[in-house]
Amino acid sequence: MSLRGKAAIVAAAEVDTFQSQGRSPVGLMGEATRRALAEVGLHKDDVDGLFTASSYYAMPALTVAEYLGLRPTYIDSTVVGGGSFISHVGHAAAAIEAGLCSVALITYGSTQRSDRGKLTSLAEWSPYEQPYGLIHPISSFGLIAQRHMHEFGTTSEQLAEVAVSARQWALKNPDAPYPTPLSVQDVLSSPMLSTPLHKLDCCLVTDGGAAIVVTSAERARDLTPKPIYVLGVGEAINHRNIVGMPDLTTTAAVDSGKRAFDMAGRGPADMDSAHIYDAFTISLMILLEDLGFVSKGEGGPFVESGAIAPGGSLPVNTNGGGLSYTHPGMLGMFLMTEAVRQLRGDAGDRQVPGARTSVVHGMGLALAAHATAVLSTDVEP
């Protein structure tokens, strides 16, 4: 049995994606949820499936349910880092198909920017790493990037191109915070944090809330003229700490991506847009390789050619991504909301003409957890 086309996203909303004023993390979830449900005229009591992850709340489903007055019959607080919400989409589709819930709310909120200086993280330290003073999680990605350079000749200029492409997309997004272009030189002359990664190789630190609503494909068609079908899902994990990463330059995204594409009956070449976790320039480059958009080691030349920038062959992170739009601790929800926007044709100046099928890929920690979802406006080609 496959989940292909069994569930659909009917609503997606974002709130305060740079700086919030006077809202708590769960308050941001509440406002995003209110907006998402209003899109399709659902009442909060229609929500019977609750999916959430958080760095703020140890038992986030309880926190959200109490705050919003929800009484879910199915609850999932899977936390595998910032990509958790892509996992939640697969779990929600499975729960809906199994009849365990019918209207699934997936939500996230964070005040990471407002909390600046006291960043919230659930990352418990490995005793074998903590004494050596790594910057979490930047230094782990520094180790990964250094190895990618060694194995494949990837350059700092090529990594910088990822950030430059992200900014070019962000310039088309009126909600993105920095309305000025970025050059490779800007990235290279920003402060070095943990070699070879500069400050501008790293994502923003923002606030933000978001919510999406998933229901059965059948019910979705009654709720909206533009349901976004979940065609394929896959997840995979293979380590926790950088010392346990089996191969610094190839990740379990190879597995999650293949499973999602196989279930969908589509491949990388069929994707009209891609929404891939760019907490760091190197994370996006490696994931482009592991998801099959280029072969291993070819990420550098690929991004250097302008392929992922506006006008390129593969529109990636069209809202500006974590590097230039928003990254409130966990990015996954904002990959989903942008994919939905593209597929609905609601992406304004950055709309990919005729976008019908997109891939969303979330990761957690230093390329440790992976979840891939293939979404489409249509179940059949």
């Binding site: 005793p127 003073g133 250094q146 943990s194 990664l197 950088i242």
Partner: protein
């Protein structure tokens, strides 16, 4: 001055630090499947056997990757920047993370650089393995 971050090992995690106090770099070998395991565990991550025996690494290996921190990852290390953290493939086939002792041989670390473990007695309770470039590494 803020102290450097110190580990809080629990259960079998203590084995590694007990060994380090005796200037031994510990790993395990599974007596059922032969797997070499870092860090000390109660069961083997390859076959789940509980027959794991403690071994002492020679302490020699090569740098698998490195990152040089220009901003301290902890306030207690602020006076050390820039400092370099290395992932080292030990000759016994396990990978370990530690920092690199500054030395003329390692002012520019490189992947593949031969290193050897040294033991830094941070406090009477805590000894940390570190790596330094093997003499003549350049």
């Amino acid at each position: 001055m803020t102290d450097r971050p110190t580990p809080t090992p629990r259960g079998e995690e203590n084995i590694y630090f007990e060994e380090a106090r005796a200037h031994r770099l510990a790993f395990q070998q599974c007596e059922s499947c032969g797997a070499r395991v870092f860090y000390p565990r109660t069961v083997c991550p390859v076959c789940l056997s509980d027959r794991l025996s403690l071994r002492q690494a020679a302490g020699t290996g090569t740098v698998h990757s490195f990152t040089t921190l220009h901003r301290a990852g902890h306030p207690g290390l602020a006076d050390r920047v820039p400092y370099t953290v290395v992932l080292v493939d030990l000759d016994e086939g396990v990978r370990v993370l530690a920092d690199l002792v500054v030395s003329p041989e390692a002012d520019v670390p490189w992947i593949g650089m031969p290193v050897q473990a040294v033991f830094d007695e941070v406090t009477p309770e805590l000894t940390l393995p570190r790596f330094q470039a093997t003499a003549g590494a350049r």
